[in-house]
């Protein structure tokens, strides 16, 4: 996973509440059993003029040339609700997004972002509605800075921050606790033998 420290990039506004993972990557666009080949399907239902087609709808913000290099996505409340499909995070990452800023996130989607190097930034709805243009996201400082120098602080838990900054593999980290896991399981087996099939 690519480590994240700080990023200055164009922010693309797609400020609708309850953008679900079916909208981020429609199920029909998840054609293979792998994690790649998903960027073209990102927001496919809104992005193209026809289902299954690839003719860009000029009315959709993702097709606006001004946002061609956007790496930050501004979304509405409850962003990433619905299906747990990690393909939503894979599609966003493959397209080039490294940050999603929204007033709130669905918990599963938020976790999927962190595991794929995308920073989920929670900011007040009024701020998300106002900030535009290039933004600087500093994960160390937990701040979003506008070109005008306005600074908005955000909260993120230590685990997510460490994983993102270090570009860490969660399984490797956890396997460092293997001895402790085995001991806890062995003790638990005596207390709850019916759990262990």
């Amino acid at each position: 996973m690519t480590p994240f420290t700080t990023l200055t990039a164009i922010a693309l506004p797609l400020i609708r509440d309850n953008i679900d993972t079916d909208a981020i990557i429609p199920s029909r666009e998840m054609k293979g059993t792998g994690k790649t080949g998903l960027a073209d399907g990102l927001f496919a239902g809104w992005r193209y003029t026809e289902v299954g087609g690839r003719v860009p709808d000029p009315g959709f913000v993702l097709n606006d040339p001004a946002y061609a290099d956007a790496q930050i996505l501004l979304g509405g409340a409850n962003f990433g609700c619905g299906s747990s499909r990690e393909h939503a995070a894979w599609a966003l990452a493959e397209y080039g997004f490294r940050v999603v800023i929204a007033p709130s996130f669905n918990p599963i989607f938020r976790g999927n972002c962190v595991r794929n190097g995308i920073v989920p930034v929670v900011l007040d709805p009024a701020v998300v509605g106002e900030v535009r243009g290039p933004l600087t996201v500093d994960l160390m400082a937990q701040s979003v800075i506008t070109t005008g120098g306005e600074c908005h602080m955000f909260a993120i838990d230590a685990e997510a921050k460490a994983m993102l900054i270090g570009g860490l593999d969660a399984i490797d980290l956890t396997l460092q606790h293997r001895g402790r896991i085995d001991a806890v399981r062995a003790a638990d087996r005596l207390v709850r033998p019916w759990v262990y099939l």
Binding site: D17, P26, S27, R28, G34, G76, R85, A158, I171, W194
Partner: protein
């Protein structure tokens, strides 16, 4: 201070605190399906990591498999076969029990796991599927995860979990006649919004919840993900223990008695504190239907479609207008005059035997309206067989319903079967998102009773109003 049921389960599964907000949690059961499970298993194998406890992991085929009679590995979804074959190959290689096509136990994960006793009270269970919260109805801590987390759980028998807040929703009183757990779920969404639970573990409590049978509890907990909850849970009681006894993966004999004694401790203590508390009166709940493209956009059947001012606390003007435009509706209009094109009974929300029985009671001796395509998809092989034994399958067929093989089917469009653009569908499923059931399809969520009654009337009505319907 006392503990909530969530805290009791959390503490027992805590391997170590990773930091002040995150725990390393033991995972007792892992459930996979061919849509998101295949990628997790293949990725794990590619990394050379074995599955730590394959006997505690299970896989089913539900998301992509066809549900038409006579189905095979070949799917209507163009690349579906690859998902089926990859899952079969990877599950077999990893030594994981697979409920494959043709296995009488095959079905929707959240239907078969309780049915087989895979989920039990007090367990932690994860599945790369958002509706895993359904299984909290058994008194387990069960939640949906991504594919990377599924890999993590398979490789380590643990997950790194940010500790969720706790919320209790107490439902006092008694649900009215003809008012179901589905209506209660939609009532809560309409009232508190689709961000209403904000990542909390929701404990459903109160007299009206206690009075629900296990299958109704599964329906209620199922839609907690629509509420943006981490998960939902209901304290297990004698109703659950009686229901679980003798199921294939449930403990037997002396172990059963030992387990039940343990499970009886799994309720929130009287002095336990929740981070948030909501309280509703069951008498306020009516048969519900959604009018928009988010599950929170729900209203009592017979009410008029709200104007923006009526829902301004939940919906922006933009999302309200967008939903109406997509659904082909106008503010303040009545919904019951809109003709429907299709009716669907199925999904992890409402495809269990009791759902089918209640729908069949309405359909018996009646026929769906002309021009309405009606489909019933039992949730599992066991549900299908039990329905057949009771003659319910024939009631559905005689009423003009298609009677299908178990699976998720047309709850969502994966590139295979779908409903048509602008088609209005009354559906017992859980999501009315844009294009969820087909490109441009207009989905109205409701209970199986409402779906059955509406299929007969050809328009959206409550079952209680069916007797007044004149064809």
């Amino acid at each position: 201070m006392g503990k909530t049921i969530f805290e009791k389960i959390w503490d027992r599964h805590l391997v170590t605190d990773l930091d002040s907000a995150t725990g390393l949690i033991l995972i007792d059961r892992i459930l996979l399906h061919e849509r998101t499970g295949s990628v997790a298993l293949e990725s794990l194998a590619a990394a050379g990591r074995p599955v730590a406890a394959p006997r505690q992991a299970f896989a089913t085929m539900d998301h992509i498999v066809d549900t038409l009679p006579g189905r095979t590995d070949r799917t209507i979804m163009p690349t579906g076969t690859a998902f089926i074959e990859a899952t079969r190959r990877a599950a077999t290689a990893a030594g994981i029990t697979l409920f494959d096509l043709g296995d009488p136990r095959q079905g929707i994960g959240h239907v078969i796991s309780p049915e087989l006793g895979i989920v039990l009270p007090g367990l932690t269970l994860v599945c790369p599927d958002s509706h895993t919260c359904s299984q909290g109805a058994i008194g387990a801590l069960a939640w949906g995860i991504g594919s990377s987390e599924a890999e993590h759980a398979l490789a380590t028998s643990t997950l790194r979990v940010r500790r969720p807040g706790t919320m209790r929703i107490t439902v006092d009183g008694v649900l009215g006649v003809g008012v179901t757990a589905k209506d209660l779920a939609l009532h809560l969404l309409a009232r508190f919004g689709s961000s209403g639970a904000k990542g909390h573990v929701v404990e459903y409590a109160g007299a009206a919840v206690r009075a629900l049978d296990v299958e109704a509890r599964l329906t209620l907990c199922n839609m907690a993900t629509e509420f943006s909850a981490f998960s939902a849970i209901i304290a297990p009681d004698e109703v659950v223990f009686d229901w679980l006894a003798g199921r294939p993966y449930a403990p037997q004999g002396a172990l059963w008695a030992q387990a039940v004694a343990d499970w009886r401790t799994l309720s929130s203590d009287a002095d336990a504190k929740f981070d948030a508390e909501l309280r509703v009166d069951a008498a306020d709940v009516r048969p519900m239907v959604t009018w928009g493209t988010s599950p929170q956009q729900a209203m009592p059947i017979g009410a008029h479609v709200p104007g923006h001012a009526d829902v301004a606390a939940r919906d922006t003007a933009e999302s309200h207008a967008r939903a109406l435009d997509y659904m082909g509706l106008r503010a303040w209009q009545a919904l019951d005059g809109e003709p429907i094109d299709a009716a669907f009974i199925g999904s992890c929300t409402n495809s269990r035997l009791s759902d089918l029985r209640r729908a069949a009671a309405i359909l018996k001796g009646r026929h769906v309206a002309d021009g309405v395509r009606a489909i019933c998809v039992p949730g599992s092989g066991a549900v299908k067989a039990a329905a057949k034994a009771e003659g319910i399958d024939q009631v559905f067929r005689d009423a003009g319903f298609e009677w299908r093989e178990p699976g998720c089917s047309m709850c969502f469009f994966a590139g295979g079967e779908s409903f048509g653009a602008q088609e209005r569908v009354i559906t017992s499923t859980n999501r009315n998102f844009e294009s969820r059931q087909g490109p441009g399809t207009r989905s109205h969520l409701a209970s199986p009773e409402t779906v059955a009654a509406s299929a007969i009337a050809g328009r959206i009505i409550a079952a209680a109003d069916l007797k007044d319907f004149v064809a």
